[in-house]
Amino acid sequence: MAARFLEDYLSLNPWRKQIILSNYYDREMIISFVAVDHFGRLPKRYSPNYFSIEDIVLQDVRVSCKFEVSVPKLGMLDQSADDQDLKQGSKVELPFWMVPTLHAKKVITFEIPRHYKVNYRQILQADSIVVDLHKWGPYFYDLGHHVANLDLKDSIDIKKSLVQTLLNRLRHIMDMSQHSTHHETVHLIANLDELERKLFAVGQLSYRSYKEWVRRESSKINTAALVASHRKRKFAEVTV
């Protein structure tokens, strides 16, 4: 019980979160890269966890696959054909969550989403900072991680490129989060994908906390966050 509470309490602390999150990805990506070499698969510890909302949502992305065997009774997967059965060789857009099992069972061959292909990797290598990762996929790193775990011939390269991109962009993100004002934020984070946005938000929060401490307002008790947003919503409803 106590351990649970301690965990909860610690999770309230934004600095811990930042350190965990930023070290996490660096370390984990590097470890996973090494692990693939040595063990051939991803260590079990890798998160996002089973319950993570983002992970579920991002795996809904469609990838184009080609069925190597015919699958009876599942013609509905292919919207263009009217068959009851799926013919061998038919090209279908499948959601990503289906892909790992089917790929392992050699039922399908699929095409890597185009943002992880060679030419895009070369773009990232040339200059990662100016790339609009939000357009490339709001969950670029996470999806890339899943893709790379599928034992493709490109896996190692994809992993290397992901790690390198994050390392290059991280400096820029940290700089922006510590030195931007409220108004510029929307423009600055337009180019970042979701993981980077989380890092940015944590950086901003720590900066604001520091400023509050300097102004000696850190001991000021505030209205609870949920209560404040609850009130705002009620007020908006009443006025609208």
Partner: protein
């Protein structure tokens, strides 16, 4: 496509980042329906595969994948809602406002009551003797015994633990002991001015 409804449930939670949307009983039921349909088809195909027709095995695998996906969506939906309800206890106190209560379903309400009980039991156990340590207070280290507060919503009479009555009129300033007003500040009735 399979598991669409499940993803919709999750997206509902994602959109409402800081409040609890009403419990989507319909959605949950639909996902369970889908799961049941998939399971039955799989039963049929699996039995026929066992019987010898091996071509159905791939379909079984695909449907199993979809089943797992649906299960994951449902579990995540329930789990995240429970996490938010736990957070509500720390922000709103042990009594939730009526419009939030309307959004939680019966089992979740039971969970909330039990969570409150566990929290109270824990707080009592780490206090000394009959004194229970209130963990929801003093989340920031306190600097002084008495704090200045301004009343931002009309509240009326408030009785402190010593029996003193304070009339909380809108826009009146008070100097009160910290322990008495922390709950009111968290609820947005008073505002801490330095």
């Amino acid at each position: 496509m399979f598991a669409q409804k499940g993803v919709e449930l999750i997206q509902e939670l994602e959109r409402a980042k800081d409040f609890l949307p009403p419990f989507n009983e319909d959605g949950v039921r639909q996902v369970l329906e889908e799961m049941r349909a998939l399971f039955e088809e799989n039963q049929r195909d699996a039995s026929s595969a066992v019987a010898g027709e091996s071509e159905y095995i791939t379909s079984v695998h695909i449907r199993h994948c979809a089943l797992e996906r649906n299960k994951r969506c449902l579990m995540a939906y329930l789990y995240n809602r429970l996490e938010r309800i736990k957070e509500h206890r720390w922000h709103f106190g042990s009594v939730l406002p009526a419009d939030i209560k309307a959004n939680i379903c019966e089992p979740e309400a039971q969970f909330f009551i039990k969570y409150n009980k566990s929290l109270a039991a824990y707080m009592k156990s780490i206090g000394e003797g009959s004194y229970s340590l209130d963990l929801t207070q003093n989340l920031k280290p306190p600097k002084n015994l008495y704090i200045q507060v301004k009343c931002i919503t009309e509240f009326g009479e408030f009785e402190t633990e010593d029996g003193d009555i304070v009339v909380l009129k809108k826009n009146s300033l008070h100097l009160l002991p910290r322990v008495q007003c922390e709950l009111l500040i968290a609820q947005g009735i008073l505002e801490h001015v330095s």
